[in-house]
């Protein structure tokens, strides 16, 4: 499979759900290099998920533009694919049929399709499960099928909306590692939205901190760490501390994000740490 990345250019992007509702986020600007992995960290309600839906073309912005190279994003496309918190697989299809569904929509012929599906399945280590019913797979395996279903389209940009937050810590760690290594190997861009600071440290080339209401990108940090990244590595720990500090600063200065639960492990929708 040959995939290449894309230059993302977000200009003055604003969004409100209805003319009367408050602004979700205001005048967001962002440039991403080809093949860059960007992680947007923020508490729920700061508009990060809405931003991702606009990037995917599933929502229209109220103002501003999103360009991928020279293409203006206005609608969903298999070139920029989104993965959700739950895998949302089609339970009446086998693993391979789920993975190939996008190619079927595009009218591919059977032989080409099955070759490409086999490639995508081996990327996510599920080559032995092609004929299984997706309902027989574990949560982590199902999310891998969803990943393969996205990768099979050879997207330039993969958008992840807290895709691992429903998984146990062990499974989450292996998927975080695998997604980063696949993205780096194939060269496509990734934008991940999360409230998990560890996820940002383990996956990002660059971490953006989004806070406030209306949401704004408040701070950004280059995450220059060698691969593979291990949680116990002192450099990773140091990076994590820096990100945490940046997040706290953003929270303190933004009234709506200044509640006391920053860094509290127990709150499901606050920024969490998995030590």
């Amino acid at each position: 499979m040959s995939i290449r990345g894309v230059r993302i250019k977000i200009q003055e992007l604003s969004h409100r759900y209805t003319p009367k509702s408050p602004v979700t986020f205001d005048k967001v600007n962002l440039d991403a290099k080809q093949g860059e992995i960007i992680v947007i960290i923020g508490r729920s309600g700061c508009g990060k998920s809405t931003l991702l839906h606009i990037l995917a073309g599933l929502l229209r912005p109220t103002d501003g533009t999103v360009y991928l190279d020279d293409t203006l994003v206005t609608a969903p496309s298999p070139q920029w694919v989104m993965m959700f918190q739950a895998p949302h697989l089609f339970p009446w299809m086998q693993v391979s049929q789920n993975v190939g569904i996008g190619l079927r929509f595009a009218g591919w012929d059977e032989t080409k399709m099955s070759d490409r599906v086999a490639d995508a399945l081996s990327l996510v280590d599920l080559q032995d499960y092609a004929d299984n019913n997706v309902q027989d797979l574990s949560g982590g395996q199902q999310q891998r099928v969803a990943l393969a279903r996205s990768l099979v389209m050879e997207p330039e940009l993969l958008l992840l909306d807290e895709p691992f937050s429903a998984l146990d810590a062990f499974t989450r760690a292996s998927l975080q590692h695998d997604v980063r290594s696949i993205a780096k190997r194939l060269g496509f861009n990734v934008v991940i939205v999360t409230h998990d600071i560890d996820e940002a440290v383990l996956m990002a080339d660059r971490a953006l901190i989004m806070a406030g209401s209306p949401g704004k990108i408040y701070d950004e940090l280059e995450v220059n760490l060698p691969d593979p990244r291990e949680r116990q590595d002192p450099a990773v720990q140091a990076m994590r501390a820096r990100l945490m500090e940046a997040f706290q600063n953003a929270a303190n200065e933004h009234p709506s994000a200044s509640s006391k639960d920053v860094g509290d492990d127990s709150k499901p929708h606050s920024v969490t740490q998995h030590a």
């Binding site: 496309s77 694919v81 989104m82 949302h88 339970p91 929509f105 032995d128 299984n132």
Partner: protein
């Protein structure tokens, strides 16, 4: 590369193979067969014994023809005359047409109920009321409205079957995960793809379950509906046998009705199993 893929799936793959499994299947199908014939044998013995008791009393001995042996002996006779074949053909035609009409009307109504909250709320009371009207009570109206008795019977079948189909379709749609549409759109699905690749396979199971229920009701309605007006079909044949006092024929028809109903219902179950993706149903 990853650690979460191996253990669970391997068990799933292996669970299906090996001799223990095939011998278990053999055992369970043998058990199923012996239950099938054993149960039927008990039914026939009870039947035979009941009629034996009745016919051993001098005042009711002419009812001996109601027994299983005369009924079974009547089969070859009826078959050679061609009455069984032609009765099945005309009843089947009425049943099939009625069900087809019910499906053509019931599935779209069910889709409307499942997709539009307003329609569902507004239609609930009239549909529940109409559903509870015994289909046969439409007969006088149907006879007036339709030109032939045949059409009237088809109408009765259709009105009996339309409700289970519509309600089951609506229930099926209610279970469709809206995120499936988002995922499909995201992967480039056109509206046509969403209908054919997502909605149809997602609700086929429920529609078939509705058709199975509808078939049960229709089969019950069919026989009494054929008592009047027509000169063909299973209901007519029962009526005819009663009037001719040929009790052996009458019981043969009763058996035929039961057997065909059983076969139709079992075929529905097979179809439902084939299209089921719900865990625990198949």
């Amino acid at each position: 590369m990853s650690n979460d893929t191996a253990p669970v799936g391997v068990n799933v793959v292996n669970a299906g193979s090996g001799e223990t499994r095939s011998s278990r299947v053999l055992k369970s199908s043998w058990r199923g067969l012996s239950n099938f014939f054993g149960g039927l044998a008990i039914l026939f013995v009870v039947w035979w014994f009941g009629v034996y008791l009745i016919s051993s009393t001098p005042s009711t001995e002419h009812f001996a023809d109601f027994g299983p042996i005369p009924a079974l002996q009547a089969f070859p006779e009826l078959w050679e005359e061609g009455t069984i074949q032609s009765a099945i053909l005309s009843s089947g035609y009425r049943l099939g047409s009625g069900l087809l009409i019910a499906i053509c009307i019931g599935v779209p109504i069910g889709i409307l109920m499942g997709r539009s909250k307003r329609f569902r709320e507004l239609s609930n009371s009239p549909f529940q009321l109409l559903r509870m009207i015994s289909p046969l009570s439409w007969e006088p109206i149907a006879v007036i409205v339709f030109a032939t008795w045949n059409q009237a019977i088809i109408f009765l079948i259709a009105i009996a079957s339309v409700w289970p189909v519509a309600f089951a379709t609506a229930a099926g749609l209610a279970k469709v995960d809206p995120a499936w549409f988002k995922v499909a759109r995201n992967l480039g699905a056109k509206p046509w793809h969403i209908v054919m690749r997502i909605i149809v396979p997602a609700i086929t199971f429920d529609v078939l379950t509705g058709i199975r229920l509808a078939l049960g009701v229709a089969w019950i309605v069919l026989v009494p509906a054929e008592f009047l007006g027509v000169t063909s079909g299973l209901g007519y044949s029962i009526q005819d046998a009663r009037e001719g006092l040929s009790y052996d024929h009458l019981m043969a028809w009763v058996l035929i009705i039961g057997a065909i109903g059983y076969v139709l219902d079992s075929s529905c179950v097979l179809l439902i199993k084939r299209f089921s993706w719900h865990r625990g149903d198949g």
